[in-house]
């Protein structure tokens, strides 16, 4: 299974950053235990990790190009979208692992004393969809803005930024239209509200747009004009 090998490869190449976040999170907890870090800021490592993962969305791609390892990746008999999906898989799975670790370390602060913990409420599908789909869409969009910039010779950063903004705007406009196709599907109730619902069509539309963008990214990867 080449995909699995590539996934393990991602861990080997980028696992250091993940380990760094784990060590940082433990360090904050140790400082907290010694009273050197305010307990109210227990979510500080988590917020920091979100920023770190924002950078990691495209930096492994850029690193392949910078270190010329892209020559190896592009020589493999694997379509571009698989390479990108492997990177998304690593980002999401490593982040889930980090989240589990963070939750375990700061469990007392998250739930408080005497609280009951529900991993998923009665609208678990909605929560799971949000927590998986939002990062998936975000990573795919960032990969798109990075890859499309390789098609221009100059001003790549500016081009990448505007590609991100314009594509995001387009997706916002397209998703409601696609959602209408799935209108016949049941809605999800939002927890803690009476009578508020989210259309499952909306979730499916975001998923459809994200998958379409992933395949476009695959084509962009395969057809980069120069390496």
């Amino acid at each position: 299974m080449i995909s699995w090998k590539l996934y393990l490869h991602e861990w080997r190449e980028n696992g250091f950053y993940w380990l760094l976040m784990i060590v940082g999170t433990i360090a904050v907890k140790v400082l907290m235990n010694f009273g050197l870090f305010p307990e109210e800021l227990f979510s500080f490592p988590l917020i920091l990790s979100i920023f770190a993962y924002g950078i990691l969305c495209t930096s492994p791609l850029a690193k392949e190009r910078k270190n010329n390892t892209i020559y190896i990746k592009k020589s493999l008999p694997v379509p571009g979208y698989v390479h990108l999906l492997v990177k998304i898989g690593w980002l999401m799975s490593s982040y889930v692992l980090y989240l589990v670790f963070w939750c375990a370390l700061y469990f007392r602060f998250i739930v408080g004393e005497g609280d009951t913990v529900f991993l998923f409420s009665d609208t678990g599908i909605l929560e799971a969809a949000f927590f998986l789909l939002a990062p998936f869409f975000g990573i795919v969009l960032m990969q798109f803005s990075y890859l499309i910039a390789n098609y221009v010779a100059k001003f790549r950063s500016a081009f990448s930024f505007w590609a991100f903004v314009l594509t995001f705007y387009l997706v916002i406009r397209i998703v409601p239209l696609v959602a209408k196709v799935f209108e016949f599907l049941p809605d999800f109730a939002i927890a803690g509200t009476s009578g508020s619902y989210v259309s499952s069509g909306f979730i499916l539309a975001v998923l459809a747009v994200s998958v379409a963008l992933l395949f476009i990214n695959g084509k962009l990867w395969d057809n980069e004009p120069a390496i």
Binding site: I2, K5, H9, R12, E13, N67, N68, T69, I70, Y71, I72, K74, S75, L76, P77, V78, P79, V152, A153, D222, N223, E224, P225, A226, I227
Partner: protein, 228 residues
Amino acid sequence: MLLTATDVTKTYFGKPALRGFSYELDRGKIIGLLGPNGSGKSTLLKAIAGLIPVDSGKILVDGQKVGVRTKNQVAYLPEIDPFYQSHRVIDVLNFYKSCFKDFDTQRAEALLEELALERNQVIRSFSKGMRVRLKLVLTLSRRAPLLLLDEPLSGIDPLSRDTIIKAIAREFDPANQSIILSTHEVFESEGLFDEVVLLEKGQIKWQGHMESLRESSSLKRLLEEVYL
């Protein structure tokens, strides 16, 4: 035909690299791809390997349009160093073995020994010559029909060059393979070539057998102008 290129054109952001390149290659030949810097040698090899798309024309490898499938038919040795620096030799070998079905581990082990590379050495500690030798081990260990070697002798001391040329000649399987080797070291590697293709500004300036090149004083002068 193992390789068919028809009217291939490639530009890099407006700058032409290949201009109407056409060529056919069957099995059993070692082709010397010669030409000055910027003549389109590396671009041509990258396009055949499927690393970059061409603007127009078509390239077929074993009758198939260049793409994901043809990457199983082509073993490509890039000019630059493409390795993950933290990896050991054995890690790279295992990675290639898991990615390419035609990767011959026994052949790789034998080549490692011959080219004086150790399995547990970390690539970060490698000299330029060792990196080239490792690239060669990885490429020659594949039983792919078409081998593309982009400047395998560049920056290598004469003794190592000789070892590399001998290794290429010995591992070549004329019944099933062809090799395209681009180089600037024409006079050292000429014994290896069955045919030579001389590129200039993305076009074939001359092609033919090595013997005719040796016999033709005007062509020899041309090569000397380009390379010396």
